[in-house]
């Protein structure tokens, strides 16, 4: 009756006979009578596979998707091209139906993959060491904040720029409030961190400073200056970086980052309504023993054959319990594997192409938008693939006009930044074509 339950009635009887019972109820006599369910749960009836597909298709069809709608919306989730190879490799069930590679000799495939992934994250960020992944960029940022506090004894405050994505700020705020640590927001000026405000807030209780790169608005901050100020104060610099941007822009290492985190969605992971993606987490060598998460290391077997194992496990919850550097257990291995395959496919030259095309097309669109009456680029700061548009028309009306033309036009900023009610944010990736951009402009020109 159920494809995933192999036992027939006869087989159940044989099993019961071996155990010495007559009914499966005898295996549940240790459950108090008063809570033993007497009726079936109130759920759907069992559906066949055909029906499951129909039901899910119906639900799926109620949603917009970025194949049917041209995506100019970013705000942390980007319509970058996903090469075909990736899903074919991800559907190899030795990867996706495996558990965490605790039995190293039989899990060399995944362990080597994680080692390769760690290497690539270090290459992108310039950091010395990376872990095997975290849940997402937001929670990785929170854990980075914790790591600053744990690394700098007697300092309980972390600064976070107002130009960090609202979703990330909310998660870091929850983590910090619950852990009874101080999170102070540094104000912004012209779409960038307000340096004067930063100076004022860099007290001796500050363990770390968190900035985003490029920031939420797509702007590129003067992070070298931020880093210098932080370090002069004995604080650490945490950068939440767009991994695609790291194919073109200066590395976090060169900017003075002590910890680099970020969301890896853009590296071959479909947007998936926000998850699963993954958070990458990398740091300088000196911080390796306080890093959260699983880490894979290279070693040899007794015959000298090279192999890979989970290592430095004494940091983790299954060994250190309440003294662990984090409570994380399952992470986002398959999404990290996705990123590894993506970076292998695009390679040194390809990542640069993706980043350059995204950057160039964004600047091209920005220039054309600026020529449409009633629209201008809001900030003067340098930007990468995303920028803020200011309009004297109603933002809702503009976005609706675009939506009516099957375009996800951008992210309205008013609800997160009340002073920007007349602004929305546009992202452009390497996927966007001249026709799509022409259409975008055409629609803008038609808005009353």
């Amino acid at each position: 009756m159920f494809p995933y339950l192999p036992h027939t009635v006869e087989e159940r009887n044989v099993l019961m006979e071996r155990i010495g019972i007559k009914s499966v109820d005898e295996l549940f006599t240790d459950i108090p009578e008063s809570i033993l369910l007497k009726e079936e749960l109130n759920l759907n009836r069992p559906y066949s596979e055909l029906e499951i597909k129909r039901i899910c298709k119906e639900l799926s069809n109620l949603n917009a998707n970025v194949d049917d709608y041209t995506c100019f919306m970013g705000a942390g989730y980007y319509d970058h091209y996903i090469p075909s190879v990736i899903d074919h490799m991800l559907l190899r069930s030795e990867f996706y139906t495996a558990y965490t590679p605790y039995q190293a000799e039989r899990s060399q495939g995944y362990l080597q993959a994680i080692f390769e992934y760690q290497t690539m994250i270090c290459e992108l960020t310039g950091m010395d060491v990376s872990n095997a992944s975290m849940y997402d960029g937001a929670s990785a940022t929170a854990e980075a904040g914790f790591m600053c506090v744990n690394s700098k004894k007697k300092r309980n405050t972390v600064l976070i720029a107002a130009t960090v994505a609202p979703e990330v700020q909310k998660v870091v705020k929850t983590y910090f409030e619950m852990a009874e640590l101080n999170l102070v927001v540094v104000g912004m000026q012209n779409g960038l961190v307000d340096m004067a405000d930063l100076d004022g807030k860099l007290t001796e209780d500050v363990a770390g400073v968190i900035c985003q790169y490029p920031n939420f608005f797509g702007n590129i901050e003067d992070l070298k200056a931020v880093g210098e100020k932080a370090h002069a104060n004995g604080s650490m610099l945490v950068l939440n970086a767009d991994p695609i941007a790291l194919g073109l822009l200066e590395s976090p290492k060169a900017l003075g980052a002590d910890i680099t985190v970020g969301d890896g969605q853009g590296l071959g992971n479909p947007m998936s309504f926000g998850g699963p993606t993954f958070g990458f987490f990398a740091a300088k060598e000196e911080f390796v023993r306080s890093m959260p998460g699983r880490i894979v290391g290279q070693t040899v077997d007794h015959d000298g054959n090279r192999g890979y194992v989970l290592t430095l496990q004494a940091r983790e919850q299954h060994i250190r319990r309440q003294k662990a550097t984090s409570n994380i257990c399952s992470n986002q291995a398959l999404n990290a594997l996705t990123a590894l395959i993506y970076l292998s496919v695009v390679g040194k030259k390809g990542l640069r192409q993706v980043a350059e095309q995204s950057c160039n097309k964004a600047h091209y669109l920005a220039e054309r938008i600026a020529k449409v009456p009633g629209f201008k680029v809001h900030f003067a700061a340098p930007f990468f693939k995303e920028f803020v548009v200011e309009t004297d028309k109603c933002v809702e009306a503009v976005l609706k006009a675009l939506l009516d033309n099957h375009i996800l036009g951008g992210y309205a900023l008013g609800k997160d930044y009340p002073e920007m009610q007349n602004c929305f944010m546009v992202a452009v990736t390497e996927k966007r074509t001249k026709e799509e951009i022409d259409k975008f402009i055409q629609v803008l020109e038609g808005v009353k």
Partner: protein, 488 residues
């Protein structure tokens, strides 16, 4: 068969590519004209240059050096390695799910919102809780979220001195670790001789400082905590809350509900009980369910239905919410897979799953207890714990026997957990395994027990058939090599 494998970096040949993009023939822009030189990267990241064939052969080869549930029997206790249905993979890839932007208009995300709402209802019904959030990304993340809710609740009631969380000594490491993240002091109570929570010990430590008691039921020995109702009363009377670690829910679906046992908050592991794939270490999903009095503290947004209509929205107007533990709404396409699983099973299927899971565990236990020490010889739930002490005295440890199982094409059970059993072997067959598989596994375990008696080197030298032999973990930790470096 020992077999070497190159790293992808070692396959790199300058000029090779696996990637093609349409040319940008219209912008006329260059990075150097868009951005100041000082902003641009000076040192290129050393990513490999390989062809598409290289990529496919490399990752196919890596998959051949790995083992999943689809490869063979995987009786990892506490992980519920049940079969991952393929229709779930297909439906989770439908474009409306996989290619939807989290910030696209709600009117154009009704399918997703409805699915999340339906999952909230279904999980609430299965577990006896009132509302669920799908936001946490994993079990430990759910534990953290649940504990945050508990803390917020107590603070809201002016109970700031409640700073202790009680866990039994059999608890999974994530329990105390999660509590410690938000500053709780851990109070550990020793289990009784019968492997269960010792009520007398519990009474000693419960008091005005108790924020919560964290339990899993059945516990990590696979034994049902029969006195759970009394435990709940003791903790509630003292003003504390009860947290349920849902890792072992596969034992009780359709048989009992944590909500009825007195639990106030719980997490579920969709990647265990609800058949979503483990992915080699994630992505999982750890939805958190709460009783009515804790609903105001749930992370935002809560997915709500417009009264009387087939329309759904995200409710951010939650002044008492703990905030957010993850960007957006959770590991959404993982939730889709669990949704499809619940569609496939329905109430009857879920109950049969738990019954068969418990049946299979007891069957294996009865066979294997003749050959291995069984610390608690009575009915178990979906898993049971053996001890390898008898074999250890003959010269082969639980670790050795686990490695030998690999030679016989099995993934070993969980070993050395829970900490309260010496040389622990935790076996959880799950309900998706046939009688033939169980019999073959039992036969192999018995064979290995015999090998330990007659020829212990085959066991202590195992595994002999894997691509590498036993690896030096000590050196790996002492002098860590955590990334590839090009040869100087």
């Amino acid at each position: 068969m020992r077999e070497k494998k190159q790293l992808i970096f070692e396959m790199s040949i300058p000029g090779r590519t696996a990637f093609s993009l349409p040319e940008d023939d219209f912008t006329g822009m260059q990075a150097s004209s868009c951005l100041d030189a000082g902003l641009l990267r000076t040192e290129e990241p050393n990513l490999p240059e390989v062809s598409e064939v290289d990529v496919v052969r490399h990752f196919t080869g890596l998959s051949n050096r790995n083992f999943g549930v689809d490869t063979g029997f995987y009786p990892l206790g506490s992980c519920t390695m049940k079969y991952n249905p393929k229709v779930n993979e297909d439906v989770s890839r439908y474009p409306g799910f996989a290619l939807s932007h989290p910030f696209q208009p709600e009117e154009l995300s009704q399918g997703n919102l409805k699915l999340l709402f339906e999952m909230d209802k279904a999980l609430s019904e299965i577990t006896g809780m009132d509302r669920f959030t799908m936001q946490p990304a994993a079990g430990a993340h759910g534990e953290l979220t649940g504990l945050m809710i508990i803390k917020a609740y107590h603070l809201h009631n002016g109970d700031a001195e409640r700073n202790e969380v009680i866990v039994p000594d059999s608890a999974h490491g994530t329990n105390p670790a999660s509590a410690a993240v938000i500053g709780y002091k851990i109070v550990e109570i020793p289990s009784g001789e019968n492997g269960l929570v010792d009520i007398a010990e519990l009474k000693k430590v419960v008091g005005p400082k108790t924020a919560a008691l964290m339990l899993t039921n059945p516990n990590t020995l696979g034994l049902f905590e029969t006195e759970i109702l009394e435990m709940a009363e003791i903790v509630h009377d003292a003003g504390g809350l009860l947290y349920y670690d849902g890792a072992n829910t596969n034992a009780i679906m359709g048989k009992a509900r944590p909500g009825d046992m007195g639990f106030d908050v719980q997490h579920i592991n969709l990647h265990k009980t609800f058949a979503t794939p483990h992915g080699g270490g994630g992505p999982g999903s750890g939805p958190v369910g709460v009783k009515a009095k804790l609903v105001p503290f749930l992370p935002a947004p809560v997915i709500e239905q417009v009264e009387g209509e087939n329309r759904y929205f995200m409710d951010y107007d939650r002044p008492l919410s703990i905030g957010k533990v993850k960007a957006c709404y959770g590991n959404f396409t993982v939730v889709v897979k669990a949704y499809a699983y619940i569609l496939a099973m329905g109430a009857k299927g879920l109950r049969l799953s738990s019954e068969d899971a418990v049946l299979n565990a007891n069957y294996l236990k009865e066979i294997l207890k003749e050959y291995f020490e069984l610390p608690h010889d009575r009915i178990c739930k979906h898993e049971f714990v053996l001890s390898g002490m008898k074999q250890k005295k003959l010269g082969a440890s639980t670790l050795d026997m686990a490695k030998r199982l690999i030679d016989y094409k099995y993934h070993p059970p969980t070993i050395y957990f829970p900490l309260i059993v010496k040389e622990a072997i935790m076996i959880e067959p799950t309900e998706t395994e046939s009688k033939e598989t169980l019999d073959a596994f039992a036969e192999t375990m018995i064979k290995i027990a015999k090998e330990v008696e007659e020829n212990p080197e085959t066991v202590t030298n195992a595994p002999l058939t894997t691509v590498v032999g036993r690896l030096d973990e000590v050196t790996a930790a002492r002098t860590p090599i955590l990334k590839w470096k090009p040869e100087a």
